[in-house]
């Protein structure tokens, strides 16, 4: 019968692919796309070429909730990858649902990695209850991309090629006003329809006021609520006054900057390769630069998170020792070669690489690498991190407030009430 024949052919094909296995295959899941994705694919190819006995088989899934849901359901049924990228901000949540497998210090030692190789804040964020669950790869943050030509025409560019007069919210808004209308349509573009972007800017502004989002198990307690409202109003103001476009998708917000229609662009460091590649191919049409987010409030601070490598805790089918050894070799190689990853705009988590001359010369990284000193990570809680109740609340409350669909005071209050309820 036709179907048995089809089954036989399919089985034969599977057998063929299995027979070709002489090297250890590492199944790798990540959520890296865009400029990040291109760089990581190149790194994986380089690894496979340099290490003939290990082959990384990568799959890229959709960033955010879809990725983390798939990881969770797979681990629960004993399936899933051997290694995956995982945001450090989400470690508490991941560990609480039993998805992650802790590393032992011996496993790190066997490939020449140790605590002293990493920045203290990063190393701390990689631990839950004293155990290491993610080996950091990078620290990434948001920066202010700017159009040098547009700023020069508006008299906002210093002789060193850096923007001037942006510190302080009033000064920043005045600059935006100057740059809106005319040759550049918008003073500033950012993804007003994407909750991740909104959370990052919100948290940056809150931290610049020395505000605490979550402390002593209380969300936005005391005057932190007003600080949150101030941050939300600042963003809502930009949209209401027309300095920034409403309800704009992530790719569209980048397109506005790269086509010269927006003078400033706030986005993650991971879009640096996009700008670099466009400039190299003469497709940008203007000189660009990037600096740390200006101090709009009391003191400098920027939101930061970290990509790390994690091994899933697969129920009933744990990752074998042979695979773990291969994974550790992969992780070590990735860390030691993270200068390649730095070209994606990230700050390598592996200290030895950041101390090399080659890294310290890298542009535009060198211009904004100072942000690492005042970087603030997400609160360490199982309601926080990527694809968590905090991110969801941002999408449901802060995002509509920014786009003028909800009053900022109501937004922060409802956000607080909902998250406080989740904490119980």
């Amino acid at each position: 019968m036709k179907f048995i024949k089809a089954l036989a052919i399919a089985a034969g094909l599977c057998a063929l692919s299995v027979a070709a296995e002489a090297k250890t295959q590492v199944v790798w899941w990540d959520f890296l796309s865009g400029g990040d994705g291109v760089r990581m694919k190149a790194m994986i190819q380089k690894f496979n070429a340099e290490n003939p006995d290990i082959e990384i088989q990568p799959t890229t899934l959709e960033w955010g909730v879809p990725f983390y849901t798939k990881v969770q359901t797979s681990a629960a049924v004993g399936q899933g990858p051997d290694v995956m990228t995982y945001h450090l901000s989400r470690l508490p949540l991941g560990v609480s649902t039993g998805v992650l497998r802790p590393y032992s210090m011996d496993e790190l030692k066997a490939v020449g990695l140790s605590e002293s190789d990493y920045f203290p804040t990063d190393w701390d964020a990689a631990h839950v209850d004293g155990k290491l669950y993610g080996v950091p790869l990078d620290i990434h943050s948001i920066i202010l991309y700017y159009n040098k030509d547009a700023l020069k025409a508006a008299g906002l560019l210093g002789d060193d090629g850096l923007p001037k007069g942006l510190d302080g919210l009033d000064n920043f808004n005045a600059a935006l006003k100057k740059l809106t209308g005319g040759k550049t349509q918008y003073g500033l573009s950012f993804a007003t329809a994407e909750h991740g972007t909104i959370w990052r800017i919100f948290y940056t502004m809150l931290s610049q006021q020395s505000g605490d989002f979550l402390k002593d198990n209380k969300i936005l307690d005391g005057d932190n609520l007003q600080k949150a409202e101030k941050a939300t109003s600042a963003m809502a103001d930009w949209v209401a006054k027309g300095y920034a476009p409403k309800l704009t998708e992530y790719p569209a917000s980048i397109a506005l900057f790269t086509s010269g229609k927006a003078a400033f662009h706030i986005n993650g460091v991971w879009e640096v390769p996009t700008m670099v590649d466009l400039a190299k191919n003469n497709k940008l049409g203007f000189d660009w630069g990037a600096i740390q987010i200006p101090t709009l409030f009391d003191h400098p601070a920027t939101w930061a998170d970290s990509h790390s490598f994690a091994i899933p805790d697969r129920k009933g089918n744990p990752v074998s020792k042979e695979k773990v050894d291969a994974v550790m070799k992969v992780i070590a190689w990735m860390n030691k070669n993270s200068i390649m990853w730095a070209s994606a705009g990230h700050i390598p988590a592996y200290k030895p690489v950041t101390e090399t001359a080659e890294y310290q010369k890298m542009q535009p990284n060198a211009t904004y690498s100072s942000l690492a000193k005042t970087a603030v990570f997400d609160p360490k809680s199982k309601i926080a991190g990527v694809a968590s109740p905090v991110y969801e609340a941002t999408a449901n409350y802060i995002q509509p407030a920014v786009n003028g669909q909800l009053a900022p005071a109501d937004a922060v209050q409802q956000m607080r009430d909902e998250l406080q309820g989740d904490l119980k």
């Binding site: 036709k2 179907f3 089809a6 399919a10 199944v27 899934l61 359901t73 797979s74 399936q79 899933g80």
Partner: protein, 276 residues
Amino acid sequence: MKIRLSFVDLLISLLTIIVAATWVFPLYWTVVTTLKPEYEVVAPGVHLLPENPTLAGYIFVLDHTIIGQWYVNSLVTAGTVTFLVILLSAGCAYAISQLNFPGRRLLYGIIVASFMVPIPALIVSHFVLMNDFGLINRWGGIILPQLISPIAVMVYKQFFDAIPKEFREAAVVDGAGEFNIFLRIFVPMTWGVTAALAIYTFILTWNNFLWPFLVATSDTSMTVPVGIVQVHEAFGVQYARNLAGAVLAALPVAAAYLIFQRRVTEAVMLSAGIKG
């Protein structure tokens, strides 16, 4: 009066054609977009035909995704489900229609009532069950929960009931057993129904999204409709490529419909309980 009527008729017919063309325009527009190079896709203005037609989008999808593997998964699962549904339903309907056994009416009643049970409501139980069988992320896991088709049983029973009893009586007199009667008389006489139901079931199973989406935990087990929206390649938003993947996903079922148009429409009406 006659002339005036035909003019109105002509107008309505023209309107019908215009409406139909507008209705199907999105399909045309999608296919045209997949044949354009990316810079033409994002160029301002509306260009109904590609100026520099290219297959680059399709080539990219074929080279950079495992759509071939997804095709195999879809073909195997849809084919197996179709085969088993026809087999199980025809057999059960034959017994209910032709054989006398206790609980016959109760069984049929339960089958008819289950038509209203929403399959999406069972996803949690099905997932747990497939895990117990160790079939998560495998063809079996995708296939099994899709095997229940109360409608197929109802349709077959209707047609088996309609076969004149003389055929059966003659066979019985000749000493034929039940299997023979089923295979030699009832199956051939309802071959049209079988063809229609088979093609329709194949199309519906191919198109199923929710269940394969849940069960395929790794990308090598996904079916085509699931794969094209789940796996993101490192090329960001490239419209021609994404749509090329969509076209490739729809090609088999669209072809099945266009070739077997009559059978599919027949199956649709059968499954609604309409003869006509």
